[in-house]
Subunit: 305 residues, 2 copies
């Protein structure tokens, strides 16, 4: 089955996955914002730890209305701009399109499903260290895998083909049955590190090097596990110590929320903090520590402008 | 009964209460650190909202060994230097001296009592906005009352006389039966405002003006009430809304811990956070939100040097 792809938001994530698919010969239609003119003239550059490449000509668009209908749409925007999807997506969708939300946090597909109740919607969890370092220029530092799972109106045939296409393009991709569990698993790292790095103005390494902040990271992880289990995601505590140790061994790293804060972009507080806190509360569990970080982040976002 | 007084630590608190007592004609012996020579030559100045005064000659000392024995000793150091008391106090004490710990937090008298098991030990809660603005120069902005209560070997006659002496000197002072309750009452304000002002780099007004940080302040207050009740202090939640409202009406205020942080002095994390968290834990209650702030403060103290 030959699929064509649309990338909504060609930044560190969309540029990376879309770039690899395009390089492997797939039809990929990229939506750009401010980089459009530059990419139209100069193409898209990917500096990857697996080898650099330059796509001299890419299907670049600056309006979704100009894009062709796509079998698979990767939504790679920040969750803070998801409110534009309701208007933007219909022009790139046909009846059987699969929308894949490659974003952090929780409650993302649920919100989209309210707006598109008859559409195949999946989620994607990107485990990749990459960033946009210049116009049409993505740097890939480490990792790269993608985990996919359906939220509504599963179309396994298409999702399996996406996985095959990505693997053929050199990206490790796997499909899971339980998207909810996959999202909570990712929150296990994102909830402690994203927000606390902002509140304490630190990188990951500092948080796990100091005894007290390491305890705070661990408290948050145990709380995420407890919340996940209340929300039907059978997450275990086994991974916690290893996850902290491996973060200690990583290069000092500024998580995406810390970068957003440093560059004065809106932070994904709702998706990464408020939605999990709210879902847990509805399931009868009070994420007290997470909710403390959540409130601090909102204060910081509204005050440090 | 005529009492003589010793002031261990003549700063914003010790200078204020000791200054008023000296002005009223009581014998007050002040221990100074770096201000000693200046006060010896120029005396002690108090700019008070109730009227300014200048004590041209005061009993100033720079070593406790040189001080006379005192009937009543006000300990007005920061809790972070309490480790020096074991060596320092004996020279100013006679058999019936009363030591009054005018400090913030919890567990202060307990620690001193281990070192001085046979001494009359009381606690004092200062409700005063004052600061040392220059050598031997204290500014008093607002409030001023002092609450006293015994921790061990109560000597009510002396404590009542202290209260009378202070009231005669123009200071509102009252004695309470339940020092533990008085300390938890004060923590109801200190736990939310001292630490969160440091973590979020804000003054009180900002914290209660922003919806999310105001919720955090409220969460912390409810947690303090719950902890207090587990620790035998029948604190009520009634005062919470009014306390937040009155803090909103106050001038923007930097609590003592925020000043300590800004001037790179050690913060009183142990007395204001760790001791309450620990006592509550021993009583079976986990102060999750307070403990989050505690860990953040230790990280900040160790990292932002």
């Amino acid at each position: 089955m030959e699929l064509n792809y649309g990338i909504i938001g060609t930044g560190a994530i969309g540029g990376f996955y879309g770039g690899f698919l395009a390089k492997s010969g797939k039809e990929v239609n990229f939506l750009f914002n401010s980089d459009f003119q530059h990419v139209k003239e100069n193409g898209l550059k990917i500096d990857s730890s697996t080898g650099n490449f330059h796509l001299k000509q890419v299907n670049a668009y600056n309006k979704s209305e100009d894009m062709p209908k796509c079998d698979v749409v990767f939504v790679c925007l920040k969750t803070t701009t998801n409110h534009i999807l309701k208007e933007m997506l219909p022009s790139v969708m046909h009846k059987n399109s699969v929308i894949i939300m490659i974003q952090n946090g929780l409650g993302i597909e649920k919100k989209l499903a309210k707006e598109f109740p008859d559409t195949s919607i999946a989620g994607g969890l990107a485990f990749v260290a990459s960033s946009k370092i210049d116009k049409g220029h993505i740097a890939h530092y480490d990792y790269g895998s993608l985990t996919l799972g359906f939220y509504q109106k599963a179309n396994d045939e298409v999702l399996n083909q996406v996985s095959i296409d990505l693997n053929n393009a050199g990206i490790e991709c796997n499909c899971v049955e339980d998207l909810n569990l996959a999202r909570w698993k990712k929150l296990l790292w994102n909830i402690p590190f994203n927000g606390v790095c902002v509140v304490l103005n630190a990188k990951t390494k500092e948080l796990v090097s100091n005894e007290e902040s390491r305890k705070l990271v661990s408290d948050l992880m145990y709380e995420v596990v407890e919340a996940a289990n209340h929300c039907g995601a059978p997450l275990k505590t086994d991974a916690i110590d290893e996850m902290i140790d491996s973060t200690f061994k990583m290069k000092p790293y500024a998580p995406s929320m810390k970068l957003d804060f440093d560059f004065k972009r809106p932070m994904e507080i709702e998706a990464i903090y408020s939605n999990p806190v709210q879902e847990a509360k509805e399931a009868g569990y009070d994420m007290k520590v997470t909710s403390t970080i959540e409130k601090q982040l909102y204060f910081i976002q509204e005050t440090y402008k």
